[in-house]
Amino acid sequence: MVRSLFLLLAALVALPLAAEAQKPIKVGVPMPLSGPPALFGEPATKGAQMYVDEINAKGGVLGRKIELLMRDSKADANEAVRVARELILKENVDFLMGTLTSAEGPAVSVVAKENKIVFIAPIPKTDQLTAADKLHPYVFRVAANTTMEGRSAAEIVAKWPVTKIATIAFDYAYGQDVTRSFVEHIKRLKPGVEIVDQQWPKLGEQDYNPFINAQMAKKPEAVVSSIWGGFFVTFSKQARALGYFDALKYNFIGLGEAASPETTKSMGADYPVGIWGNSYDAFYWEDNPGPHKDYTARLSKYLKDEYPSSWAIQGYIGMAFLAEAIKKAGSTDSDKVAKALLGLTIDTPIGKQTIREKDHQANRGQLYGKTVKDPKYAFPIMKPITYVDPTKFMD
C-alpha cells in the first residue's frame, strides 16, 4: 500500500518533468507580413512552416516538436527589434529565424547578442550583418550577401563583349554595397572596363524616366541594376517604353531577383525578354540536383500553387540549418547550437550548403540566366539556369 502510494507520488512528480521534455521548441520569426515587402516575407514564412510541419510529422527534433511564432516586423528596424524582444521576453522563444531588409537584420542581430540567442537571417544581404566588427557568436546568415551578389554579376558581365558599363541602384545600403562589389570585381576581372554612368534613384522611386533618359544619354553598352522586386516591374515597364533595353542590345543584368518567377509571372508579355537576371529559386529549374524536384512538388502542394514562390526556400533553409544544428548539439541551449552551426554542412533542396566558421555566412549562391520565352509557360523563364557558386570569391 505504502509502496504503491510512493509510486503514485513519484509519477505525479515525474509527470511535469516528462511534459517539460515534450514542450515544443519555440522559434520566433520576425518578418514583414504587411506592405510591399510582405511579397517576400510571407512566402519565406510559409517555407519555414512547411519545413517545420514536415519535421514535426517525423517526430520533431530531439523528440520535441518545433513551433513557429510569427510576428509582423513591418520591414522596419524599430518594429523588428520590438517584436524580437517581445518574442524573447514574453514568449520565451529559444531561437530567432527571420527578418528581410538590410535595416532589420543588423538591428535584430543586436537583440540576439544581448539575449544570447541564436539568430538566423534568411534574406538580409547587407555585408554589415556579418562584418568583422558586427559579428558575434549568435548571428548566422543563409542568404547571399552583397559582396557575393555583386561579384557573381561581375563574373557574368566580364564575359560579355562590352567595355562601357553603367549601373543603376537604389541609394541606400543594399544598392550601394552591391554596386560597389560589382564595380570592384569587374575591374579586377577585366581591367579595360569603364564605368560611364551611375544612377541612384531613391529607394521606392516610382518615376524612373529621368534616370533612364540620363543613363541613355551616356550611351553605355551594358547596365547592371539592383532595382528589386515590384520596383523592377515599374522600372522595366518605363525603361522598355523608352527603348532602353533595345539601345543596350539587352546587355542588362537585373540583380535583386529581377528574374524571379514571381516577377516574370506578374509581367507576362510585358517583361523585357532577353535580359539577364537572378533569383533565389525557380520551380522550373530542371537540370538541378535531385532533391530540388521533390521539394518543388511538395511546396507546390503546400502552397496550392502550380508555380510556387521562389522565396519560400529561404525560410525553408533557415529552419533546416537550425534544426540540424539542434540535432548536432543534442540540446536547445543557444551556446551549444551556435557552436554546432559553425562549419555545419547540410543537404538542402539546392544541394549542400555550409555555414563558414570565419564569418557565419552560408555559401548561398543564386540562380542566374538569360530570360527567354518558353512555349510551356505564359511568362519568360531563365534558360539555361546557372547556379553561381560563390565559394571562390567570398573573401
Binding site: 504587411s34 506592405g35 510591399p36 510582405a38 511579397l39 510571407e42 541609394d171 544612377q199 541612384w200 531613391k202 521606392g204 516610382q206 518615376d207 524616366n209 529621368p210 534616370f211 533618359n213 540620363a214 544619354a217 522586386g229 515590384g230 520596383f231 516591374v233 515599374t234 515597364k237 518605363q238 517604353a241 523608352l242 527603348g243 514571381e262 516577377t263 506578374s266 509581367m267 507576362g268 508579355a269 510585358d270
Partner: protein, 294 residues
C-alpha cells in the same frame, strides 16, 4: 552642357509625371476646396483604381478596347465607393476639428489598404500598355512612348474640361458657391448634401482614373496609396490648397524639378522638391496661386 534631345526628353518625362500628379492632386484639392476636409484616403482611391483596372482586365482578357473599358469601369467603381463613403461616413465630419478629420481619413487608409490586401494579396500586379499605344515616336532625337504622349495630352484636356464646368455651368457655380458659403447656398434652396456627395464622387473618380491610367507604367503593389498621397500633398501645397490652376502649376513644377533635379543633384533630386516646398511655405504659406485662409 547636355545635348538638346536629352533636355527635351527630360522635360517630356517631367511633363508626363506632372499630368499624373495633376489628375490625382486635383481631386484632393477639389475636396479640400469645397468640403474643407483634407482627405488622406484619396491616395487609397488611386490604389483601388489601379487594382480594379487590373481586375477588369483579368476578367475581360486582352482586346483592343479592354484597357479603356477597365480604366473607365475602375474609375466609376471608385466614384461609387467614394459616394458611399461620403454619404455614410464623411457627412459626420463636416465642421468638426481638423484632428478628427485627419484621424478618420487616416483610419480609412489603413482599413481600405487591408481590404485590398485581402482581395488581391501581396504579390505585385501588372497591366500592359493598351494596344495602339505600345509604340514610341522619335522627336528631336528623343524617344517618346505613345502612352506618355497620350497622358501629356489628356492632362490639359481634363484641366480645360474641369475649368469649363466650374466657371461656365450652373453646377460649377453651385460648387464655387458651396466653397465660399455653404449656409447661404442651402438657404437659397440648393441641396448642399447632394452637391457634396457629387463633388466627392467626382474627386474619387479622378483619383481612381489616375490609378487606372498609371497601371501600364507602374507595378500595382500594396503601399502605392501612401506614396502617391505624399506627392499629391506636395503638389497642392506648392500650388495652393483648393486652387484649381494652382494644382496644375504645382504639378508642372514638381515634374520638371524632379526631371532636371537629377542633373544637378544626382542623388538628391527629391531634396530639390522639398526645398522648393519649404521655400513656398515660407514666402507664400497659402501656395503660389492659393488664397490665404481667413
Amino acid at each position: 552642357m547636355p545635348d538638346l534631345s536629352f533636355v527635351f526628353a527630360q522635360s517630356l518625362s517631367g511633363l508626363t509625371a506632372a499630368m499624373f500628379l495633376f489628375l490625382i492632386a486635383s481631386g484632393l484639392s477639389l475636396i479640400f476646396g469645397v468640403l474643407r476636409v483634407l482627405n488622406f484616403a484619396h491616395g487609397t482611391f488611386y490604389m483601388l483604381g489601379a487594382y480594379s483596372a487590373y481586375q477588369i482586365v483579368q476578367w475581360l482578357g486582352t482586346g483592343p478596347v479592354t484597357f479603356w473599358v477597365a480604366a473607365l469601369g475602375a474609375a466609376t467603381g471608385v466614384a461609387l465607393l467614394g459616394g458611399i463613403v461620403e454619404r455614410f461616413l464623411f457627412q459626420r465630419l463636416y465642421g468638426k476639428e481638423e484632428l478628427y478629420q485627419l484621424l478618420f481619413t487616416y483610419a480609412l487608409v489603413l482599413i481600405l489598404s487591408d481590404v485590398a490586401r485581402i482581395i488581391w494579396g501581396t504579390q505585385q500586379k501588372s497591366v500592359g500598355r493598351p494596344p495602339g499605344l505600345t509604340g514610341a515616336v522619335s522627336v528631336f532625337g528623343a524617344t517618346i512612348p505613345d502612352y506618355n504622349l497620350f497622358i501629356i495630352l489628356l492632362g490639359p484636356a481634363i484641366a480645360l474640361g474641369f475649368w469649363y464646368v466650374l466657371q461656365r455651368t450652373r453646377i460649377g457655380r453651385f460648387i464655387r458657391a458651396a466653397a465660399l458659403d455653404r449656409e447661404t447656398l442651402g438657404a437659397l434652396g440648393v441641396n448642399v448634401r447632394a452637391l457634396y456627395t457629387g463633388v466627392f464622387m467626382l474627386a474619387s473618380f479622378l483619383g481612381g482614373l489616375g490609378g487606372a491610367l498609371i497601371s501600364p507604367m507602374r507595378a500595382i503593389v500594396p503601399g502605392m496609396d501612401t506614396e502617391v498621397i505624399v506627392e499629391a500633398f506636395v503638389v497642392v501645397v506648392i500650388g495652393g490648397l483648393g486652387s484649381f490652376w494652382g494644382t496644375f502649376l504645382g504639378a508642372l513644377i514638381y515634374g520638371q524639378v524632379l526631371s532636371f533635379g537629377i542633373l544637378f543633384f544626382p542623388r538628391f533630386s527629391i531634396f530639390s522638391i522639398f526645398a522648393l516646398m519649404a521655400a513656398v511655405l515660407i514666402v507664400r504659406p497659402w501656395g503660389l496661386l492659393g488664397r490665404p485662409l481667413k
